[in-house]
Amino acid sequence: MIPDNKISKIQELIYEISIGEVMKTNLVTVTAQTPMSKLREILREKRISGTPVVEGDRLMGIISIEDFIKWLANREPDCPISEKMSKDVQTLYADEPLTQAVNKFEKFGFGRFPVLDHESKRLVGLITKGTIVEGLLKKLEIDHIEVEEVYRHRIKHFFDDILADKVSLFFQYDVVGQNFKRAGEGASRLKSSLRRLGLDPQIVRRVAIATYEAEMNLIIYTEGGKIRVRVEPHEIVVRVEDSGPGIPDIEKAMQPGYSTAPEWVRELGFGAGMGLNNIQRCATRMGLHSVVGKGTTLKIHISTEHGVKRETDGIDSQAESGR
């Protein structure tokens, strides 16, 4: 069954669309002087059942396969098409709404109507039931694409529609320590979610890379932890928390190439002492707080506003020695 709203959509469209939008414009025409004996060839070759008769771009009449059969059946001698064509032709104007064409098809039962330019009365196209259906389908498809774009646009501007002093979306990913089989799953799921929100792919990439590095750190060095992501209108904040063992010397940990990773971690392609640097490169701002024996909190801020340059220098870090 066709849902009601689809019907009303088509009804709407036949009032909205003009005949000129759907008509066939690359026309096969014949001249009034063409002999009837040639008509069969033309109709068969072009796979049509009728065609306008013209002189220049002026419509003189219309000739159809029915006229041709009648001529054949009567075994009349060959003659110019002008003698057998319908001269009193029903026409439509290109600027009329499609509903006008639908009415005429119903009223006259003809297979086709020539379409004229309203002002100059010149022949500009031809409309058949087939071209109407094709035109409607195309329009429905375009409308569908537009609706999808509007939907995507809306999700992007989701925040604009919410009236509040502060708006944020929150996701959480739980990471199990030492579980290498699932390493990166959090970052992967976060990435898909952010893409669905319609965020800029380069920003999503930066968030994903930073989160992936942080997730690897959780898996390599800790018993596990949580990745909490807050998406706000102008910023994405990834907060990575674990409950130990903590980083004794953050300054040292931030040095490129400095690593305490065991050999088996290096075999996985990580643990080369680049993780925190990578995170910092991706972040607009980063905060690292660690207490030995208690745990580490890493806050990664990534601005979603265009034209914001990365600040590669600013890091507020704080390390406290364990008690």
């Binding site: 390493a183 990439r205 890379i209 392609g269 080369a272 680049m274």
Partner: protein
């Protein structure tokens, strides 16, 4: 060049993603260090690597890499293949070692990541 052209140059075999060989490869990088890949490799690159664990595919996914080719005839385990398949990341394997793989692609005009940046 297309991934299929790169595959021919590398005499590589397709592990997964045979339907994606028509994709355009803009540049390539060779590395076994995933943190390096994450920090300097650009989107739409081909990654050549000797590592075959799932983290390689995760790295490719997270960093928007186009495809991965394992060097020296290495083949990944089932989990790695499954992740790649679900993320539409083609996996190839070439019998050539890393240096020769990179060299062949470079000679055929495929730029490295730093060159690509200069050109564009």
């Amino acid at each position: 060049m297309t991934l299929e052209e790169a595959r021919k140059i590398l005499e590589a075999e397709v592990i997964v993603g045979g339907d994606l060989l028509g994709m355009e490869i803009k540049m390539a990088c060779g590395s076994d260090l995933m943190s390096d890949v994450l920090s300097f490799v650009k989107s739409d690159s081909l990654l050549l690597t000797g590592l075959t664990n799932p983290q390689v595919v995760r790295t490719a996914e997270v960093a928007d890499l186009a495809a991965i080719c394992f060097v020296r005839g290495k083949k990944p385990d089932q989990l790695t293949i499954e992740i790649a398949e679900s993320r539409n990341i083609p996996l190839l394997t070439t019998p050539l070692p890393m240096f020769e793989s990179c060299g062949r692609l470079w000679v055929h005009g495929l730029p490295g990541c730093s060159e690509y940046e200069k050109k564009h």
